[in-house]
């Protein structure tokens, strides 16, 4: 009997998750998984933040009901989420001209944003991504009905920021197009603009009258300081950009599987924010009706309880510091191995990921000969590096690059 689905092709495996699959199958005791971006402690184990455990205990003791959240999510979460990004003294918050809704982590936030722009953006439905960008950005915007374009960003010759190329490309973007900016800890390169460079980017974006879409998935995780990591977002708003913003709490609170995120639209005034809010609800309802409570409740409890917030800031700082230390140890290890290459970019880059500069053939050798798993573009997740394996990693990288 013929099937409805005879013509359905096998979908290609997800490149990032495929790395983990291969890693799992490897029997080498020295194997390292430097693929997916989830934080690991110095023993290579998942890390549940103590502020999260404390928040969970508080929540359990409250014996709350499980009634549906509003479509836009838990109010005390959305408010705290916006404050975290914009700063408690933000004029935007004071005038109530933002709408912030709880979303299904960063992906859900980007998707709602993409759907909203697709339906309501009066300008060209073209989204300009930095080259390269997180792999999932492209299909998210495409599925929402937008076209993808790119601006130069990463300079492979320096493993750094192609500032001139970026400005040059941005200056040519048609007016009212959408430009995606990674707020901090650029994924996958770890290369962030410096403040003076952000200022020039803001100027040219303003000149071109572009709609700015910030993706902030690593606030606190990049430098260890949440205000420092939000600097670009806040600067742009001060400069008059009415941005849209996606936030994720997957990494900075370790709430990965609870799916905690926010989507913000900065509007002209409170009245416009109300109209935008009503339309966001119309978009959300036919996708999942209303968001999940658990993670948002944990995040809200942490952000809104001074003791817990304090602990959290310390733990985020701790995670960021461990990453920074691993960067330093990796470079020191490579020097010790006798590598003649310049590895400064490993220290200059920031956040969870490092664009090593390794070529696909070198990546392949690293995987085959040393059981070090990473994505083909040479990206490694520093979170997977520990003081116990950083020496081995240095050995491997040196072996394939000497």
């Amino acid at each position: 009997m013929s099937s409805w689905w005879g013509g359905v092709q096998m979908g290609p495996p997800d490149p990032i998750l495929g790395v983990t699959e291969a890693f799992k199958r490897d029997t080498n005791p020295k194997k390292m998984n430097l693929g997916v971006g989830a934080y690991r402690d110095d023993q290579g184990k998942p890390f549940v933040l103590s502020c999260v455990r404390k928040a969970e205990a508080i929540i359990t003791s409250k014996q709350l009901d499980k009634e549906y959240l509003p479509i836009g999510g838990l109010g005390e979460f959305s408010k705290a989420c916006a404050e975290l990004a914009l700063g408690a003294d933000s004029e935007v918050l004071k005038s109530g001209r933002n709408i912030t809704v709880q979303t299904i982590s960063g992906t859900g936030s980007l998707r709602i944003g993409a759907n909203f722009l697709s339906r309501f953006h009066g300008g060209p439905l073209d989204v300009y991504l930095p080259k390269p960008s997180w792999g999932n950005h492209t299909p998210i915007f495409r599925d929402a009905g937008m076209q993808l374009k790119a601006y130069r960003y990463y300079d492979p010759s320096t493993c750094g920021f192609d500032f001139k190329g970026a400005l040059d490309d941005i200056s040519k973007i048609p007016e009212q197009s959408v430009i995606m900016l990674h707020a901090c800890a650029h994924n996958p390169t770890g290369v962030d603009p410096r403040p003076e460079q952000w200022k020039e980017i803001s100027d040219i974006v303003k000149k071109r009258n572009l709609l700015v879409f910030f993706d902030m998935a690593y606030q606190g995780f990049a430098s260890g300081d949440i205000d420092r990591d939000a600097w670009a977002v806040r600067y742009f708003i001060e400069q008059g950009h009415n941005i849209v913003l996606s936030q994720s709490f997957a990494k900075n609170m370790g709430l990965y599987g609870e799916r905690v995120g926010g989507f913000t639209v900065v509007c002209n005034d409170a009245e416009e924010a109300k109209r935008v809010e009503s339309q966001l609800k119309i978009l959300i309802r036919p996708i999942y009706s209303n968001p999940p409570m658990n993670g948002a409740r944990i995040a809200a409890t942490i952000l809104n309880t001074p003791d817990l917030r304090s602990i959290w800031l310390g733990e985020v700082h701790g995670m960021a510091n461990r990453i920074i230390k691993m960067r330093e140890q990796l470079v020191a290890g490579l020097k010790k191995e006798g590598s003649s290459h310049n590895w400064q970019h490993v220290i200059d880059q920031i956040g969870m990921f490092c664009f090593t500069g390794l070529k696909p053939e070198q990546v392949e050798r690293l995987t085959k000969e040393f059981s070090v798993y990473m994505t083909k573009d040479g990206r490694i997740s520093m979170a997977g590096v520990t003081s116990g394996n950083v020496g081995y990693l240095a050995q491997g990288i040196h072996a394939v690059t000497k």
Partner: protein, 410 residues
């Protein structure tokens, strides 16, 4: 100049506006018969005792963390949830042709199924395939399929307002006359909003036509266990269709039967023709999930999986479900008895013949308005009431109010 200055104010979603109005009402005897969530006889939300137990287990298990679930969800949730719908001994499961996608509630499961069908059903990328939803149906069905890209979402005849029952002839007629390959959204049990389900013989007739005319079966199962109190009984239609050999989808919600409303626990069960088809379908489902929410939330799925996979907890859960179903049946019986005792004009058998959380009272929009404005009893403009909003303490007031309304307002 704002890019969003032209964004119009959207109308609020009716059922949530109703709850809002109820909240704002100061009348001491107000009653909320609107949104579909279970209430105890004290009118309070009810966290199932088994859920409280399992949450404690989770909080104290140091081995558990908050890592990402796989894209398709928690494996032990997906398989046990599908077993609930199809039965432990389902031949389809034994033949390795049943798979599932953990989704954000029943809504999320419908969404994933709709997105998949729009891409791959009936000639690929076919947005023109008619999607039939019952008249009336849960109001979000239309939006889910329209937003997934289907151009043509239409009603199939279902509710016979005059006789307050199923319009079987109309339903079968639509099945016979619709374009071949049309997609039909069927309510597995406890039809929302009418509470009127086909009998087993009627389901068999429906299945016959759907098989002959190659129509796609998409079940929406949001009340399994909640309708009759028996999981098996409430799954009869779904299992019958599976036994007939359909390739089909079943969107399951655990919001009501587990009381896990805000944790968004749903499952899209996929019955394929064979294991190879299933593998390819699931690989494409992953791509759709990845651009919508990447991977689903873990808390609710864990609670359900732990419960379903432990014999004692499973037993306890079934008891909890029966408690809810029994209270609803009691309220139905009492409401009908009181209306009959009051001599309220009209027949009220439908109150006890209908099944599940909702009842289509038959009140018209003017009468509904009277109920809301004059009696502070909140129900949907369609005349739908949530039986869970009734308690032994307010049922007299509600019965008297219906009596007054029906007598005063035509």
């Amino acid at each position: 100049m704002s890019v969003f200055s032209e964004v119009p104010q959207a109308a609020p979603v009716a059922v949530f506006k109703l709850s809002q109005d109820f909240s704002n009402d100061q009348f001491p005897q107000k009653v909320n018969l609107g949104v579909g969530a279970y209430r105890t006889d004290e009118g309070q939300p009810w966290v199932l005792p088994v859920v409280k137990k399992v949450e404690k287990i989770i909080v104290h298990d140091d081995r558990l963390n908050h890592e990402y679930l796989p894209i398709l969800g928690l494996p032990e949730f997906r398989s046990s949830a599908s077993k609930i719908a199809l039965g432990d001994d389902s031949p389809a499961i034994q033949e390795d042709r049943v798979g599932a996608v953990q989704c954000l509630g029943g809504t999320g499961a419908l969404k994933m199924g709709a997105e998949f069908l729009r891409r791959f059903y009936n000639g690929n990328n076919n947005t023109k395939t008619p999607v039939y939803v019952s008249a009336p149906t849960w109001e979000n069905h239309n939006a889910v399929f329209a937003n997934a890209g289907f151009d043509d979402v239409r009603p199939y005849k279902y509710w016979d307002a005059e006789n307050r029952g199923l319009d079987l002839a109309g339903f079968l007629g639509d099945l016979e006359s619709c374009p071949e390959h049309s997609i039909f959204v069927l309510h597995a049990c406890a039809h929302n909003p009418t509470g009127t389900d086909p009998t087993q013989e009627q389901w068999m007739q429906i299945a016959d036509i759907m098989m002959r005319r190659k129509l796609f079966v998409f079940f929406d199962s949001a009340y399994q266990g909640f309708a009759s109190g028996s999981l098996e009984k409430d799954a009869w239609a779904v299992r019958y269709f599976v036994s007939m050999g359909f390739e089909m989808f079943c969107a399951q919600s655990f919001s009501k039967n587990f009381g896990l409303y805000n944790e968004r626990v749903g499952n899209l069960t996929i019955v394929a023709q064979d294991a190879d088809n299933l593998k390819r379908i699931l690989s494409q489902m992953e791509k759709i999930v990845r651009t919508t929410w990447s991977n689903p939330p873990s808390q609710g799925a864990r609670i359900v999986a732990i419960t379903l996979n432990s014999p004692e907890l499973f037993s306890e859960w079934k008891d909890n479900v029966k408690t809810m179903a029994d209270r609803v049946l009691l309220m139905r019986a009492q409401l009908k008895a009181k209306l009959q005792a009051l001599g309220t004009p009209g027949t009220w058998d439908h109150i006890t013949e209908q099944i599940g959380m909702f009842s289509f009272t038959g009140l018209n929009s003017k009468q509904v308005e009277y109920m809301v404005k004059e009696k502070h009893i909140y129900l949907m403009a369609s005349g739908r009431i949530n039986m869970c909003g009734l308690t032994t303490k307010n049922i007299d007031y509600v019965a008297e109010s219906i009596h007054e309304t029906v007598t005063m307002v035509q």
